[in-house]
Amino acid sequence: MTIYIKTLLEKDMREDGRKLDEYRPIKIQYGVSAKSAEGSAKVCIGETEVIAGVKMDIGKPFLDTPNEGVLMVNAELTPLSSPEFQLGPPDIESIEISRVVDRAIRESKAIDFGKLCIKKGEEVWMVFVDIYPLNDAGNLFDAASLAAIAAIKDAKFPEVVKGKVNYKKHAKGLPLKGTPISCTIGMIGNKILVDPTNEEEKELDARLTIGIMGNKICSLQKGGEKPLSIEETEKIIDLALKKVKGLEKKL
Protein backbone atom coordinates (compact mmCIF):
# COMPACT_ATOMS: atom_id res chain seq x y z
CA MET A 1 0.00 0.00 0.00
CA THR A 2 2.86 2.36 0.85
CA ILE A 3 4.42 2.07 -2.60
CA TYR A 4 1.02 2.26 -4.27
CA ILE A 5 0.08 5.50 -2.49
CA LYS A 6 3.49 7.09 -3.08
CA THR A 7 3.72 6.12 -6.74
CA LEU A 8 0.26 7.56 -7.36
CA LEU A 9 1.16 10.77 -5.53
CA GLU A 10 4.13 11.35 -7.83
CA LYS A 11 1.55 11.69 -10.59
CA ASP A 12 -0.68 13.84 -8.34
CA MET A 13 -3.15 10.98 -8.03
CA ARG A 14 -4.79 9.27 -5.06
CA GLU A 15 -6.07 5.76 -4.34
CA ASP A 16 -9.72 6.86 -4.46
CA GLY A 17 -9.33 9.05 -7.55
CA ARG A 18 -9.49 12.40 -5.79
CA LYS A 19 -7.39 15.45 -6.53
CA LEU A 20 -4.82 16.34 -3.86
CA ASP A 21 -6.88 19.29 -2.62
CA GLU A 22 -10.24 17.55 -2.77
CA TYR A 23 -12.34 16.46 0.21
CA ARG A 24 -14.46 13.33 0.11
CA PRO A 25 -18.23 14.04 0.05
CA ILE A 26 -19.40 15.55 3.34
CA LYS A 27 -22.79 14.93 4.93
CA ILE A 28 -24.14 16.27 8.20
CA GLN A 29 -27.20 14.89 9.94
CA TYR A 30 -28.52 16.76 12.96
CA GLY A 31 -30.42 15.41 15.95
CA VAL A 32 -29.18 11.80 15.73
CA SER A 33 -29.63 11.54 19.51
CA ALA A 34 -32.33 14.17 19.84
CA LYS A 35 -34.26 12.28 22.53
CA SER A 36 -31.22 11.98 24.81
CA ALA A 37 -28.72 14.73 24.06
CA GLU A 38 -29.21 18.51 24.21
CA GLY A 39 -27.66 18.60 20.76
CA SER A 40 -26.24 15.98 18.43
CA ALA A 41 -24.94 15.44 14.93
CA LYS A 42 -23.44 12.78 12.72
CA VAL A 43 -20.81 13.80 10.21
CA CYS A 44 -19.75 11.65 7.28
CA ILE A 45 -16.62 12.48 5.33
CA GLY A 46 -16.56 9.76 2.72
CA GLU A 47 -16.75 6.53 4.71
CA THR A 48 -15.56 8.18 7.91
CA GLU A 49 -18.45 8.64 10.31
CA VAL A 50 -18.38 10.48 13.62
CA ILE A 51 -21.15 11.19 16.12
CA ALA A 52 -20.96 14.06 18.58
CA GLY A 53 -23.41 14.89 21.33
CA VAL A 54 -23.81 17.74 23.77
CA LYS A 55 -24.99 17.30 27.34
CA MET A 56 -25.51 20.26 29.65
CA ASP A 57 -25.64 20.61 33.39
CA ILE A 58 -25.37 23.29 36.04
CA GLY A 59 -22.09 23.36 37.93
CA LYS A 60 -19.54 25.52 39.68
CA PRO A 61 -17.34 27.76 37.52
CA PHE A 62 -13.55 27.64 37.61
CA LEU A 63 -12.02 29.99 40.19
CA ASP A 64 -10.21 32.08 37.57
CA THR A 65 -13.33 32.54 35.41
CA PRO A 66 -16.17 32.97 37.97
CA ASN A 67 -18.61 34.46 35.46
CA GLU A 68 -18.04 32.08 32.56
CA GLY A 69 -19.54 28.74 31.63
CA VAL A 70 -17.48 25.58 31.30
CA LEU A 71 -16.72 23.67 28.10
CA MET A 72 -15.47 20.09 28.12
CA VAL A 73 -14.61 18.19 24.98
CA ASN A 74 -13.99 14.48 25.09
CA ALA A 75 -13.32 12.04 22.28
CA GLU A 76 -13.36 8.28 22.65
CA LEU A 77 -11.87 6.24 19.87
CA THR A 78 -14.32 3.39 20.17
CA PRO A 79 -13.07 -0.07 19.23
CA LEU A 80 -16.35 -0.35 17.30
CA SER A 81 -15.03 2.04 14.67
CA SER A 82 -11.70 0.48 13.76
CA PRO A 83 -9.78 -2.77 14.28
CA GLU A 84 -6.88 -0.61 15.45
CA PHE A 85 -8.65 0.90 18.47
CA GLN A 86 -8.77 -0.94 21.75
CA LEU A 87 -10.82 -0.88 24.91
CA GLY A 88 -9.37 0.90 27.87
CA PRO A 89 -8.64 4.36 29.19
CA PRO A 90 -8.29 7.11 26.54
CA ASP A 91 -5.04 6.68 24.65
CA ILE A 92 -2.88 9.51 23.38
CA GLU A 93 -4.61 9.58 20.00
CA SER A 94 -8.05 10.28 21.47
CA ILE A 95 -6.61 12.79 23.92
CA GLU A 96 -4.98 14.69 21.06
CA ILE A 97 -8.24 14.78 19.07
CA SER A 98 -10.19 15.97 22.13
CA ARG A 99 -7.72 18.70 22.84
CA VAL A 100 -7.37 19.93 19.27
CA VAL A 101 -11.16 20.10 18.84
CA ASP A 102 -11.49 21.76 22.25
CA ARG A 103 -8.87 24.38 21.47
CA ALA A 104 -10.44 25.48 18.18
CA ILE A 105 -13.85 25.94 19.82
CA ARG A 106 -12.55 27.52 23.02
CA GLU A 107 -9.99 29.89 21.54
CA SER A 108 -12.20 31.06 18.70
CA LYS A 109 -14.53 32.35 21.43
CA ALA A 110 -17.37 31.05 19.27
CA ILE A 111 -19.41 30.27 22.37
CA ASP A 112 -20.23 33.33 24.43
CA PHE A 113 -19.12 31.89 27.78
CA GLY A 114 -20.27 34.98 29.66
CA LYS A 115 -23.85 34.17 28.69
CA LEU A 116 -23.49 30.71 30.24
CA CYS A 117 -23.15 32.26 33.70
CA ILE A 118 -26.20 31.87 35.93
CA LYS A 119 -24.86 33.23 39.24
CA LYS A 120 -21.34 34.63 39.37
CA GLY A 121 -18.89 32.37 41.16
CA GLU A 122 -21.57 29.83 42.01
CA GLU A 123 -23.63 28.52 39.12
CA VAL A 124 -22.78 28.30 35.45
CA TRP A 125 -23.78 26.08 32.55
CA MET A 126 -21.37 23.26 31.82
CA VAL A 127 -21.29 22.13 28.21
CA PHE A 128 -20.01 18.59 27.64
CA VAL A 129 -19.21 17.62 24.08
CA ASP A 130 -18.58 13.91 23.58
CA ILE A 131 -17.27 12.61 20.30
CA TYR A 132 -17.43 9.00 19.07
CA PRO A 133 -16.28 7.70 15.70
CA LEU A 134 -18.59 5.09 14.18
CA ASN A 135 -16.23 4.27 11.35
CA ASP A 136 -12.63 5.42 10.99
CA ALA A 137 -11.79 5.70 7.33
CA GLY A 138 -9.31 8.52 7.97
CA ASN A 139 -9.24 12.19 8.94
CA LEU A 140 -10.98 11.83 12.28
CA PHE A 141 -9.65 15.28 13.20
CA ASP A 142 -11.83 17.12 10.70
CA ALA A 143 -14.83 14.85 11.12
CA ALA A 144 -14.64 15.19 14.92
CA SER A 145 -14.29 18.96 14.76
CA LEU A 146 -17.18 19.32 12.33
CA ALA A 147 -19.38 16.95 14.37
CA ALA A 148 -18.58 18.84 17.57
CA ILE A 149 -19.50 22.25 16.22
CA ALA A 150 -22.58 20.84 14.48
CA ALA A 151 -23.75 19.29 17.78
CA ILE A 152 -23.14 22.59 19.58
CA LYS A 153 -25.11 24.37 16.88
CA ASP A 154 -27.92 21.86 17.36
CA ALA A 155 -27.88 22.16 21.18
CA LYS A 156 -30.60 23.82 23.21
CA PHE A 157 -30.60 24.78 26.89
CA PRO A 158 -32.62 22.37 29.02
CA GLU A 159 -35.29 23.97 31.16
CA VAL A 160 -34.43 24.89 34.77
CA VAL A 161 -37.11 24.42 37.40
CA LYS A 162 -36.29 25.65 40.92
CA GLY A 163 -32.56 25.41 40.28
CA LYS A 164 -32.81 21.88 38.90
CA VAL A 165 -32.32 20.85 35.29
CA ASN A 166 -35.34 19.35 33.56
CA TYR A 167 -33.98 17.37 30.64
CA LYS A 168 -37.43 16.76 29.19
CA LYS A 169 -37.92 20.35 28.00
CA HIS A 170 -35.59 22.58 26.04
CA ALA A 171 -35.60 26.27 25.29
CA LYS A 172 -33.34 28.41 23.11
CA GLY A 173 -30.05 27.49 21.48
CA LEU A 174 -26.55 28.23 22.76
CA PRO A 175 -25.11 31.74 22.29
CA LEU A 176 -22.93 31.19 19.23
CA LYS A 177 -20.85 33.86 17.50
CA GLY A 178 -19.47 31.70 14.75
CA THR A 179 -18.51 28.21 13.72
CA PRO A 180 -14.85 27.28 14.18
CA ILE A 181 -13.83 24.43 11.89
CA SER A 182 -10.67 22.38 11.66
CA CYS A 183 -8.99 21.59 8.40
CA THR A 184 -6.29 18.93 8.41
CA ILE A 185 -3.67 18.90 5.69
CA GLY A 186 -0.99 16.29 5.29
CA MET A 187 2.36 16.02 3.59
CA ILE A 188 3.77 12.88 2.03
CA GLY A 189 7.22 13.64 0.66
CA ASN A 190 6.82 17.10 -0.83
CA LYS A 191 3.15 16.59 -1.79
CA ILE A 192 0.44 18.44 0.09
CA LEU A 193 -2.95 16.73 0.37
CA VAL A 194 -6.22 17.36 2.21
CA ASP A 195 -8.54 14.92 3.95
CA PRO A 196 -6.27 11.86 4.11
CA THR A 197 -7.84 8.38 4.13
CA ASN A 198 -6.76 5.93 6.82
CA GLU A 199 -4.35 4.33 4.36
CA GLU A 200 -2.85 7.70 3.50
CA GLU A 201 -2.64 8.65 7.17
CA LYS A 202 -0.19 5.83 7.75
CA GLU A 203 2.14 7.39 5.17
CA LEU A 204 1.91 11.00 6.37
CA ASP A 205 5.30 12.57 7.02
CA ALA A 206 3.76 15.72 8.47
CA ARG A 207 0.29 16.90 9.34
CA LEU A 208 -1.07 20.30 10.22
CA THR A 209 -4.53 20.86 11.69
CA ILE A 210 -5.70 24.43 11.38
CA GLY A 211 -8.72 25.74 13.29
CA ILE A 212 -10.43 28.52 11.38
CA MET A 213 -13.34 30.81 12.14
CA GLY A 214 -14.34 33.33 9.53
CA ASN A 215 -11.01 34.29 7.96
CA LYS A 216 -9.08 34.01 11.23
CA ILE A 217 -6.95 31.17 12.45
CA CYS A 218 -7.84 30.09 15.97
CA SER A 219 -5.71 27.00 16.54
CA LEU A 220 -2.84 25.05 15.08
CA GLN A 221 -1.52 21.58 15.72
CA LYS A 222 1.39 20.05 13.90
CA GLY A 223 1.76 16.30 13.79
CA GLY A 224 4.08 13.85 12.10
CA GLU A 225 7.84 13.59 12.25
CA LYS A 226 8.86 15.68 9.24
CA PRO A 227 9.65 19.32 9.96
CA LEU A 228 7.86 21.96 7.88
CA SER A 229 9.56 24.93 6.28
CA ILE A 230 8.02 28.38 6.71
CA GLU A 231 7.05 28.34 3.03
CA GLU A 232 5.34 24.97 3.36
CA THR A 233 3.49 26.11 6.48
CA GLU A 234 2.20 29.19 4.67
CA LYS A 235 1.17 27.16 1.68
CA ILE A 236 -0.73 24.72 3.89
CA ILE A 237 -2.49 27.51 5.80
CA ASP A 238 -3.52 29.18 2.51
CA LEU A 239 -4.97 25.91 1.29
CA ALA A 240 -6.82 25.39 4.61
CA LEU A 241 -8.34 28.88 4.45
CA LYS A 242 -9.62 28.02 1.00
CA LYS A 243 -10.92 24.55 1.83
CA VAL A 244 -12.68 25.53 5.05
CA LYS A 245 -15.27 27.48 3.07
CA GLY A 246 -16.57 24.23 1.61
CA LEU A 247 -16.81 22.66 5.06
CA GLU A 248 -18.62 25.64 6.50
CA LYS A 249 -21.30 25.45 3.83
CA LYS A 250 -22.24 21.95 4.99
CA LEU A 251 -23.17 23.14 8.49
Binding site: E47, P79, S82, F128, N135
Partner: protein, 231 residues
Protein backbone atom coordinates in the same frame (compact mmCIF):
# COMPACT_ATOMS: atom_id res chain seq x y z
CA UNK B 1 -53.69 -0.95 39.98
CA UNK B 2 -55.74 -1.56 36.90
CA UNK B 3 -54.06 -0.59 33.66
CA UNK B 4 -56.57 0.20 30.95
CA UNK B 5 -54.28 1.60 28.28
CA UNK B 6 -50.65 2.47 27.59
CA UNK B 7 -49.45 6.06 27.62
CA UNK B 8 -48.28 5.91 24.00
CA UNK B 9 -51.45 4.20 22.80
CA UNK B 10 -49.86 0.85 21.99
CA UNK B 11 -51.63 -2.47 22.52
CA UNK B 12 -50.36 -4.40 25.56
CA UNK B 13 -48.45 -6.84 23.38
CA UNK B 14 -47.35 -4.33 20.77
CA UNK B 15 -43.69 -3.34 20.36
CA UNK B 16 -42.48 0.13 19.54
CA UNK B 17 -41.44 0.77 15.96
CA UNK B 18 -38.36 -1.20 14.92
CA UNK B 19 -35.72 -0.35 12.35
CA UNK B 20 -32.82 -2.65 11.50
CA UNK B 21 -29.89 -2.24 9.15
CA UNK B 22 -26.82 -4.32 8.39
CA UNK B 23 -23.36 -3.17 7.29
CA UNK B 24 -23.38 0.21 9.02
CA UNK B 25 -19.70 0.16 10.07
CA UNK B 26 -17.58 -0.29 6.95
CA UNK B 27 -14.31 -1.13 8.69
CA UNK B 28 -15.81 -3.88 10.81
CA UNK B 29 -16.03 -7.53 9.73
CA UNK B 30 -19.74 -7.34 10.43
CA UNK B 31 -22.04 -4.66 11.78
CA UNK B 32 -25.64 -3.70 12.38
CA UNK B 33 -27.92 -1.00 13.74
CA UNK B 34 -31.06 -1.86 15.69
CA UNK B 35 -33.53 0.80 16.69
CA UNK B 36 -36.56 0.13 18.85
CA UNK B 37 -38.60 3.18 19.78
CA UNK B 38 -36.08 5.77 20.91
CA UNK B 39 -33.33 3.29 21.76
CA UNK B 40 -30.63 3.05 19.10
CA UNK B 41 -27.88 0.42 19.25
CA UNK B 42 -24.93 -0.06 16.91
CA UNK B 43 -22.91 -3.26 16.98
CA UNK B 44 -19.66 -4.10 15.22
CA UNK B 45 -17.87 -7.46 15.04
CA UNK B 46 -14.12 -7.84 14.70
CA UNK B 47 -12.66 -11.29 14.28
CA UNK B 48 -11.94 -14.05 14.59
CA UNK B 49 -8.68 -12.38 15.58
CA UNK B 50 -5.80 -13.02 17.94
CA UNK B 51 -6.82 -13.05 21.59
CA UNK B 52 -4.79 -11.00 24.06
CA UNK B 53 -3.90 -11.50 26.87
CA UNK B 54 -2.79 -15.01 25.98
CA UNK B 55 -3.87 -16.70 29.21
CA UNK B 56 -7.50 -16.18 28.17
CA UNK B 57 -7.00 -18.26 25.04
CA UNK B 58 -9.01 -21.47 24.83
CA UNK B 59 -7.27 -24.19 22.80
CA UNK B 60 -10.60 -25.98 22.23
CA UNK B 61 -12.60 -23.09 20.72
CA UNK B 62 -12.81 -19.39 20.01
CA UNK B 63 -14.09 -16.94 22.59
CA UNK B 64 -16.89 -14.43 22.15
CA UNK B 65 -16.28 -11.14 23.92
CA UNK B 66 -19.01 -8.50 24.12
CA UNK B 67 -18.68 -4.94 25.24
CA UNK B 68 -21.66 -2.69 25.93
CA UNK B 69 -21.24 1.05 26.12
CA UNK B 70 -23.55 4.03 26.37
CA UNK B 71 -22.30 7.14 24.63
CA UNK B 72 -21.86 9.86 27.27
CA UNK B 73 -24.76 11.92 25.93
CA UNK B 74 -27.15 9.01 25.37
CA UNK B 75 -28.77 8.92 28.81
CA UNK B 76 -32.15 10.42 29.53
CA UNK B 77 -30.87 12.68 32.33
CA UNK B 78 -27.42 14.05 32.96
CA UNK B 79 -24.24 13.01 31.17
CA UNK B 80 -23.11 9.43 31.70
CA UNK B 81 -19.47 9.29 32.71
CA UNK B 82 -17.49 7.72 29.86
CA UNK B 83 -15.79 4.39 30.40
CA UNK B 84 -16.89 1.06 31.80
CA UNK B 85 -19.00 0.75 34.93
CA UNK B 86 -20.53 -2.15 36.84
CA UNK B 87 -23.76 -1.99 34.84
CA UNK B 88 -22.12 -1.93 31.42
CA UNK B 89 -19.77 -4.76 32.36
CA UNK B 90 -22.65 -6.93 33.53
CA UNK B 91 -24.59 -6.25 30.34
CA UNK B 92 -21.50 -7.21 28.32
CA UNK B 93 -21.41 -10.48 30.23
CA UNK B 94 -25.08 -11.40 29.79
CA UNK B 95 -24.85 -10.42 26.11
CA UNK B 96 -22.04 -12.96 25.68
CA UNK B 97 -24.15 -15.62 27.39
CA UNK B 98 -27.16 -14.73 25.25
CA UNK B 99 -25.25 -15.16 21.99
CA UNK B 100 -22.68 -17.91 22.65
CA UNK B 101 -25.19 -20.83 22.51
CA UNK B 102 -25.95 -20.22 18.83
CA UNK B 103 -22.34 -19.73 17.70
CA UNK B 104 -20.02 -22.43 16.44
CA UNK B 105 -16.58 -21.16 17.39
CA UNK B 106 -14.92 -24.59 17.32
CA UNK B 107 -12.86 -23.64 14.25
CA UNK B 108 -11.44 -20.51 15.88
CA UNK B 109 -9.23 -22.15 18.50
CA UNK B 110 -7.32 -19.64 20.67
CA UNK B 111 -8.98 -16.74 18.85
CA UNK B 112 -11.41 -14.03 19.89
CA UNK B 113 -14.56 -12.75 18.24
CA UNK B 114 -15.09 -9.24 19.56
CA UNK B 115 -18.46 -7.52 19.58
CA UNK B 116 -18.68 -3.83 20.43
CA UNK B 117 -22.10 -2.36 21.17
CA UNK B 118 -22.60 1.40 21.34
CA UNK B 119 -25.82 3.11 22.38
CA UNK B 120 -26.40 6.42 20.61
CA UNK B 121 -29.75 7.21 22.19
CA UNK B 122 -31.52 5.39 24.98
CA UNK B 123 -35.04 5.07 26.32
CA UNK B 124 -35.45 1.52 27.61
CA UNK B 125 -34.67 -2.00 26.53
CA UNK B 126 -31.15 -1.07 25.51
CA UNK B 127 -29.54 -4.38 26.43
CA UNK B 128 -32.11 -6.17 24.28
CA UNK B 129 -31.54 -3.74 21.41
CA UNK B 130 -27.79 -4.36 21.80
CA UNK B 131 -28.28 -8.14 21.64
CA UNK B 132 -30.48 -7.86 18.53
CA UNK B 133 -27.86 -5.67 16.82
CA UNK B 134 -25.01 -7.95 17.91
CA UNK B 135 -26.74 -11.09 16.59
CA UNK B 136 -27.20 -9.43 13.20
CA UNK B 137 -23.62 -8.16 13.18
CA UNK B 138 -22.30 -11.67 13.93
CA UNK B 139 -24.33 -13.08 11.04
CA UNK B 140 -23.08 -10.25 8.83
CA UNK B 141 -19.49 -11.11 9.80
CA UNK B 142 -20.07 -14.66 8.62
CA UNK B 143 -19.49 -16.27 12.01
CA UNK B 144 -21.11 -19.75 11.88
CA UNK B 145 -24.47 -19.58 13.66
CA UNK B 146 -26.98 -22.32 14.34
CA UNK B 147 -29.83 -19.93 14.96
CA UNK B 148 -30.76 -16.25 15.25
CA UNK B 149 -31.11 -14.58 18.63
CA UNK B 150 -33.70 -11.90 19.35
CA UNK B 151 -34.32 -10.08 22.60
CA UNK B 152 -37.11 -8.01 24.11
CA UNK B 153 -38.03 -6.51 27.44
CA UNK B 154 -41.39 -7.57 28.80
CA UNK B 155 -42.87 -6.92 32.20
CA UNK B 156 -45.78 -6.30 34.41
CA UNK B 157 -47.22 -2.87 35.04
CA UNK B 158 -50.26 -2.77 37.28
CA UNK B 159 -52.31 -5.84 36.41
CA UNK B 160 -51.11 -6.24 32.82
CA UNK B 161 -48.24 -8.03 31.16
CA UNK B 162 -46.71 -5.58 28.72
CA UNK B 163 -44.33 -6.09 25.84
CA UNK B 164 -41.47 -3.64 25.22
CA UNK B 165 -41.80 -1.28 28.17
CA UNK B 166 -40.89 2.38 27.78
CA UNK B 167 -38.77 4.18 30.38
CA UNK B 168 -41.96 5.73 31.68
CA UNK B 169 -43.61 2.33 32.17
CA UNK B 170 -40.47 0.91 33.82
CA UNK B 171 -40.55 3.72 36.34
CA UNK B 172 -44.12 3.03 37.49
CA UNK B 173 -44.16 1.89 41.11
CA UNK B 174 -43.91 -1.90 41.51
CA UNK B 175 -43.40 -2.33 37.77
CA UNK B 176 -41.60 -5.54 36.90
CA UNK B 177 -39.10 -5.52 34.08
CA UNK B 178 -37.89 -8.72 32.43
CA UNK B 179 -35.27 -8.89 29.69
CA UNK B 180 -35.55 -12.04 27.59
CA UNK B 181 -33.72 -13.41 24.57
CA UNK B 182 -34.90 -16.34 22.48
CA UNK B 183 -33.28 -18.42 19.79
CA UNK B 184 -35.61 -18.31 16.81
CA UNK B 185 -35.91 -21.92 15.66
CA UNK B 186 -34.98 -23.49 18.98
CA UNK B 187 -37.29 -21.27 21.00
CA UNK B 188 -34.83 -21.45 23.87
CA UNK B 189 -34.18 -18.75 26.41
CA UNK B 190 -30.60 -17.40 26.36
CA UNK B 191 -31.10 -14.23 28.37
CA UNK B 192 -33.31 -13.88 31.40
CA UNK B 193 -33.08 -11.03 33.85
CA UNK B 194 -35.81 -9.64 36.02
CA UNK B 195 -36.34 -7.36 38.95
CA UNK B 196 -39.50 -6.87 40.98
CA UNK B 197 -42.01 -9.21 42.57
CA UNK B 198 -44.45 -11.27 40.49
CA UNK B 199 -46.36 -14.55 40.56
CA UNK B 200 -45.07 -17.63 38.79
CA UNK B 201 -48.04 -17.45 36.44
CA UNK B 202 -46.96 -13.95 35.41
CA UNK B 203 -43.47 -15.21 34.60
CA UNK B 204 -45.06 -17.83 32.38
CA UNK B 205 -47.28 -15.28 30.67
CA UNK B 206 -44.39 -12.85 30.23
CA UNK B 207 -42.20 -15.51 28.64
CA UNK B 208 -44.99 -16.40 26.26
CA UNK B 209 -45.41 -12.77 25.27
CA UNK B 210 -41.65 -12.38 24.85
CA UNK B 211 -41.47 -15.45 22.63
CA UNK B 212 -44.14 -14.02 20.36
CA UNK B 213 -42.39 -10.64 20.16
CA UNK B 214 -39.00 -12.27 19.50
CA UNK B 215 -40.46 -14.20 16.58
CA UNK B 216 -41.49 -10.90 15.02
CA UNK B 217 -38.11 -9.30 15.76
CA UNK B 218 -36.31 -12.25 14.24
CA UNK B 219 -38.17 -11.70 10.97
CA UNK B 220 -37.05 -8.06 10.93
CA UNK B 221 -33.45 -9.10 11.63
CA UNK B 222 -33.47 -11.69 8.84
CA UNK B 223 -35.04 -9.23 6.44
CA UNK B 224 -32.32 -6.66 7.18
CA UNK B 225 -29.61 -9.27 6.65
CA UNK B 226 -31.06 -10.30 3.30
CA UNK B 227 -31.50 -6.70 2.23
CA UNK B 228 -27.75 -6.10 2.30
CA UNK B 229 -27.29 -8.65 -0.47
CA UNK B 230 -30.35 -7.71 -2.51
CA UNK B 231 -29.66 -5.17 -5.16
Amino acid sequence: MKLTKRSDGRKFDQMREIEAKVGVVKRADGSAMFKIGNSIAYAAVYGPRELHPGHLQDPTRGKLRCNYNMMAFSGSGERVRPGPNRRSKEIGLVTEKALTPVLDLSHYKNMAVDVFIELVQTDSGTRCAGICAAAMALADAGIPMRDMVSAIAVGKVGDKVLVDLTKEEEDVEEAVDMAVAFTTRGGEVTLLQMDGIIEKSDVKESLKAARKACEQISKIQMEALKKKYKK
